[in-house]
């Protein structure tokens, strides 16, 4: 029944059109641009999960790189130590499992606190993982990182296939499918009673507790879901990049995740998707054109925070609402005039 409602809803029609366009992207973009696009998609997945924690539960973690790294390193380490099991069907669940594990441990420590201390703690824990990945040279390759070879996928081997070809073909559609799935699941979570409960916790913690919502537990659930999304993004990212380094767990990288979510607008599911795509291109454009790209990114962030606190998607929605309202008032005025 819900499914039927979709067809009439303009939002779902838009999604459908976008998905259709996305199917043709490999034919529209050059190899290098397609790579950027795929980076953007993986970050979009991370952003979807991160938004659940920030936009809907009201917790700001500057340490989500840890779960991204967990997923990415799960893939890379399996490539190094269990090459016989190096198949996508095994790697994705492994990444999800590993990032879930880390989220549970770190999350348990973090959700006991809020606000500043939560943020500091999330940050510090991600730096702990960073330090471990950095120092355990013989296990993780240390600061040199690890290579991520092309895996087999559902029985298909890619011997002798160069990575750009792999990424432009089978992998792109797999990534697109994962993204679509993640998006649909997140929409479901957000509109579910669980999602509503999270928003209640964000808006008024004490009241939520009084209604009977187990605040700490729900926070932990949100934390772990967002952690798994980050892990999935990390794993998918690792195939595109071909290489993982401990920097993925560094707090500055986590900051970029926050940046993306804000850029797109948190509190809306589509927000981080938009933000991730824009940020990926913004960063690479800046890096390619000036040596002071950090200045550009930093200045953009500051301007954004001051002017568009609801992010691009939020700003767009606000604009859309404004136009709708104008039209409504115009209509009302007309109708009033008629009467």
């Amino acid at each position: 029944m819900y499914f039927m409602r979709m067809f009439g809803n303009p939002k779902w029609v838009t999604y459908g059109i976008i998905l259709l366009v996305l199917l043709f992207i490999p034919y529209l973009l050059s190899t290098h641009d397609l790579l950027l696009f795929e980076y953007g998609l993986t970050f979009a997945i991370v952003g979807l999960g991160f938004n659940l924690l920030l936009g809907y539960t009201g917790l700001l973690s500057f340490g989500h790189g840890a779960y991204f790294a967990a997923g990415a390193y799960a893939v890379a380490m399996m490539g190094k130590y269990l090459p016989q099991a190096y198949a996508m069907e095994i790697l994705i669940p492994a990444a999800l499992l590993f990032s879930l594990l880390i989220s549970i441990i770190f999350g348990f420590l973090c959700v006991r606190h809020t606000k500043i201390f939560f943020s500091i703690l999330a940050l510090s824990l991600s730096m702990l993982l960073f330090a471990l990945l950095f120092k355990l040279y013989h296990l993780t390759g240390g600061s040199d990182g690890l290579r991520v070879p092309i895996p087999t996928m559902f029985g298909m081997a890619f011997k002798g296939v160069r990575r750009p070809l792999f990424l432009a073909g089978t992998y792109y559609y797999f990534l697109l499918a994962m993204f679509t799935l993640s998006f649909l699941i997140m929409r479901g979570i957000v509109s579910s009673p669980f999602g509503k409960a999270l928003q209640a916790i964000r808006d008024n913690e004490i009241r939520a507790e009084l209604i009977g919502i187990r605040v700490r537990r729900y926070r932990l659930y949100a934390f772990c879901i967002s952690g798994m999304y980050a892990g999935l993004g990390g794993a998918l990212w690792s195939f595109v990049n071909g290489h993982v380094t401990p920097d993925l767990s560094h707090w500055v990288f986590s900051g970029e995740i926050v940046y993306m979510t804000l850029l797109g607008g948190f509190g809306i599911v589509e927000g981080p998707v938009v933000g991730a795509m824009i940020f990926t291109y913004l960063k690479l454009y800046a890096m390619g054109n000036t040596e002071y790209w950090m200045f550009v990114i930093g200045a953009t962030l500051i301007i954004l925070v001051l002017l568009l606190p609801n992010g691009v998607a939020g700003g767009a929605t606000a604009l859309w609402t404004k136009i709708k309202n104008k039209r409504l008032t115009a209509e009302n005025a007309e109708n009033a005039g008629k009467n």
Binding site: I116, F117, L121, L128, K135, G255, V258, I297, V305, L306
Partner: protein, 288 residues
């Protein structure tokens, strides 16, 4: 050698104390976690290095040590500008925005440093060389490290005096204890917050300046001290002067002994200790 290891640890702790004290003051009085704190450390370092390079053969030697204060001054000025422009705008907004703004400031400042001073390493070791070595229990030790420890103890004493005995200091403490009550009592939160931010930033800059005679000024020099400062804040507790002191000593000594005994472990050891303390006492050793 254990005396030397301890002195090394105290030297490291001294720098750490100054940095985390600055972070703590801002955190305590304004409730803001300044993610750009490391950049202020870097600004202090570059300013001091540049100044010393300019004047090194032209002025009497004691002036070189005074010129280290230039780092303190410039960092304070930058802090003042930051507070007036960015932080002010964020008073009414939520935590996320504050963190994001300071993160944006970090990116901005790192590149500003690159624009002003370039991408190369700046060496200014004259203050270190000039103080020479002293003999301690049969071992030779650079006097400069003792100088840094002494300066830090001096600064700690001054801050303690300031916070405990002067009107301004007591007002700052009042705000950090209970902001609403302080406003109710008529304290000028705006001006006092600026003071706290300038002081905190200046302390970071001073720490950066003090490290220059032993280390070149390099892009990104402030990133690691920032992480260490976080660890100290987590371990020592938010907003506590005593916590900053004890935390800094704990981290500094652990690192020094750790490298001597378990060379493989270095950084993760510190996080492990922080983690243990957090599980046992989540607010930190002296936190509220």
């Amino acid at each position: 050698m254990w005396v030397i290891y301890t002195l090394n640890g105290l030297y490291f702790a001294a720098l750490l104390f100054l940095t985390s004290l600055g972070l703590n003051i801002i955190l305590g009085v304004m409730g803001i976690l300044n993610l750009a704190h490391g950049s202020l450390y870097a600004i202090g370092a570059f300013m001091a290095a540049w100044t010393i390079i300019q004047i090194v053969t032209k002025v009497p030697e004691p002036l070189l040590y005074v010129s280290l204060l230039s780092g303190f001054v410039l960092a304070g000025i930058v802090g003042w500008v930051m507070e007036k422009t960015l932080i002010r705008a964020m008073y009414k907004r939520t935590l996320e925005y504050q963190l994001l703004l300071t993160f944006g400031a970090l990116l901005l400042l790192e590149d500003l440093i690159k624009m002003v001073w370039g991408g190369q390493a700046l060496y200014a070791s004259a203050p270190f060389d000039l103080l020479g070595k002293v003999e301690i229990l049969g071992s030779v030790y650079p006097a400069y490290f003792l100088f840094v420890i002494a300066i830090t103890l001096g600064v700690a004493f001054l801050i303690w005096l300031f916070m405990g005995k002067t009107r301004l200091g007591i007002m700052l403490r009042a705000i950090s204890l209970d902001r609403e009550m302080a406003t109710g009592l008529g304290l000028d939160i705006g001006r006092l917050s600026t003071l706290a931010f300038v002081l905190g930033s200046g302390l970071a800059g001073l720490a950066g300046a003090l490290v220059i005679p032993t280390t070149p000024a390099l892009l990104g020099i402030g990133m690691e001290p920032l992480i260490f400062a976080f660890i100290v804040v987590v371990v020592g507790g938010l907003g506590s002067l005593k916590g900053a002191l004890v935390g800094a000593m704990l981290v500094g000594l652990t690192r020094s002994y750790g490298i001597a005994i378990f060379p493989e472990i270095e950084l993760p050891l510190l996080f492990l200790i922080a983690g243990i303390i957090l599980v046992a006492k989540p607010q930190g050793l002296f936190g509220r």
